[in-house]
């Protein structure tokens, strides 16, 4: 078995790559550049080699979730551009709404499969707890984003969801600030704030995954060169 050729030197806090133009330079910009150079070189962002166990079907779900998100964002952009009432009065608009609707369904199906896959593989091991946590936040933010989307459909479904959801939100004391009966408020939140938050979180999640690499299979833990027993499997 070969060494991890092509994986670069992506360690937790690796030394600065020789020849980096930011090496030794003072300032915040140079510090950020040094950090990015060390933690996320291009070969980590766009790897050409991966551990063979990544060939498992479970690794497909994350990529497919992102693919679905792409079409959620594309169809949502078209719907936002054409105006909130467009899809009720135009066949083409309704078709784009259908694309948005089914993309969201796909997004959630594959995100949940990805989440379960990561749970059963204990994907948080070996320093990946933050990656798991950002993923869970992504899941929760996605639910709220979808919820606001259902509220701004401008049809009976959105009316009914709003009228019923208000009681739970009011009970928390947030109803006056997150008023689900206020279309304008929900529209702005759905088409602007949450998509930006979601996209940033996805980027952060991908960076976390790429910078640390995928976790080793359970039962085949990382054993440091020191010869001591592995920490990765011991606490499972």
């Amino acid at each position: 078995m070969s060494e991890a050729s092509g994986l670069g030197s992506g360690t937790g806090t690796p030394p600065l790559a020789a020849g980096s133009s930011a090496e030794g330079e003072p300032g915040w910009t140079a510090a950020v550049r040094r950090r990015l150079d060390g933690r996320l070189p291009l070969e980590e962002v766009l790897p050409t080699r991966q551990p063979a166990f990544v060939g498992s079907w479970v690794y497909v779900f994350g990529v497919v979730t992102i693919a679905a998100l792409v079409w959620v964002l594309v169809s949502g952009t078209v719907l936002a551009f054409m105006g909130s009432a467009w899809w009720h009065t135009s066949d083409l608009g309704h078709f784009f709404n259908s694309i948005h609707f089914w993309s969201v369904q796909m997004f959630f199906i594959f995100m949940v499969l990805h989440l379960w896959g990561q749970y059963w593989g204990a994907g948080w091991r070996d320093g990946r707890a933050k990656t798991w946590m950002v993923g869970v936040v992504l899941f929760l933010v996605s639910i709220v984003t979808a919820f606001t989307g259902y509220l701004i459909q401008q049809n009976f479904d959105s009316q009914w969801i709003a009228v019923n959801a208000k009681d739970a939100i009011n009970a928390t004391g947030l109803g006056g600030f997150f008023n689900v009966l206020n279309f304008g408020q929900m529209y702005g939140i759905h088409v602007m704030l949450f998509p930006i938050a979601l996209t940033l979180l996805v980027v952060l999640h991908i960076v976390q995954v790429r910078s640390r690499g995928v976790v080793r299979p359970i039962g085949d833990p990382y054993v440091p060169d020191t010869g001591e027993s592995a920490s990765t499997g011991a606490s499972q």
Partner: protein
């Protein structure tokens, strides 16, 4: 399985693992095109749901007795909205708390709704132009004492129990209702014309996007929940995660909806707050799985991972 990130060189981390060629861009491209094809097929074949909005106009036309009964109750301040509590009113009818924990009360009124004024008297006052009978009835009602107003409304609301539709008007047995029948008749006419839908949206601004008042008014009647019942959308029908028609809804809310079906929680007067608390705790649990003994160990105890990495374990055996 702790969540701390050890300082491990990735080359060292994958020591002993066979590395294979991998084309990330190709994988993403195939996934993106594949999802697009699937979504296009689903959209073309199944379309998406769009049941038209309920309107106060449709309500007044299809069930005028329910409309008038609701409007009279709004005027009497006896509806759910009129007595709701924060963030709409200072009442306590729908205030939920857990012991001394009352976030709804602490937050206070931020979307103020005065049901008699906002839903009935104000729209009627805007419709008095050219209608002297209505103007006179409004003046009579407004000048009467609160006790007299409540007496008229109580008698009228009781009579609505035997109301009939005569010549497309809501008719009740004779009684001392003061100006209330005129007010209700004019409000019904206004609602049937579609004018009330618009008047409930008006404020000091030209542009309107806040539908709080018309939605609250709709929700106080029996017509609106009846439409939902027909679409299998009520709480007892797992309505939160259902969609109109035969489409998938917010299936990801299944756990949130589940608690409303569990009697001790679902039947409690503070069910919404209890469910929110339960879901907050569960969400925190999911977030903190890497740090919770037992929960983080389940993947080792139940060997689903042997399916996930089947090929890898086979290669290890060899």
């Amino acid at each position: 399985m702790n969540g701390r990130r050890p300082k491990i060189d990735k080359t060292d981390y994958y020591r002993g693992i066979r590395m294979t060629p991998y084309d990330l861009i190709k994988e993403i491209s195939i996934a993106t095109v594949g999802i697009l094809v699937a979504v296009l097929i689903l959209s073309a074949v199944l379309s998406s749901p769009d049941i038209p909005s309920a309107t106060i106009q449709a309500w007044a036309k299809s069930d005028p007795v329910d409309f008038v009964t609701t409007a009279a109750s709004e005027l009497a301040g006896q509806t759910t909205t009129a007595q709701y509590g924060p963030p709409y009113t200072t009442g306590s009818g729908s205030v939920q708390s857990i012991g001394p924990i009352e976030p709804q009360v602490w937050a206070g009124v931020h979307v103020a709704v005065n049901a008699p004024l906002d839903f009935v008297l104000q729209p009627l006052s805007q419709a008095t132009v050219g209608d002297q009978t209505l103007a006179s009835a409004l003046t009579t009602f407004n000048n009467a004492s609160a006790a007299q107003q409540q007496k008229w409304l109580a008698t009228y609301n009781q009579a609505l129990g035997s109301a009939k539709l005569v010549d497309n008007e809501v008719s009740v047995p004779s009684g001392d209702y003061g100006p209330v029948p005129v007010l209700m008749s004019r409000l019904l006419t206004l609602a049937r014309s579609g004018g009330l839908d618009a008047l409930l949206l008006t404020s000091e601004h030209f542009y309107q996007t806040d539908f709080s008042k018309p939605l609250l008014f709709l929700s106080d009647g029996g017509y609106f929940p009846g439409l939902a019942q027909a679409q299998d959308l009520t709480g007892s029908q797992w309505g939160m995660m259902n969609e109109t028609g035969r489409y998938p809804g917010q299936a990801w809310l299944w756990l949130f909806t589940l608690w409303y079906q569990v009697p001790p929680i679902g039947s409690a007067s503070n069910a919404d707050l209890l469910v929110v608390v339960v879901m907050t705790v569960l969400s925190l649990g999911l977030l903190l799985v890497p740090f919770i003994p037992g929960l983080r160990d389940v993947p080792r105890w139940i060997p689903v991972h042997k399916l996930i990495w089947r090929q890898h374990y086979r290669s290890m055996t060899k």
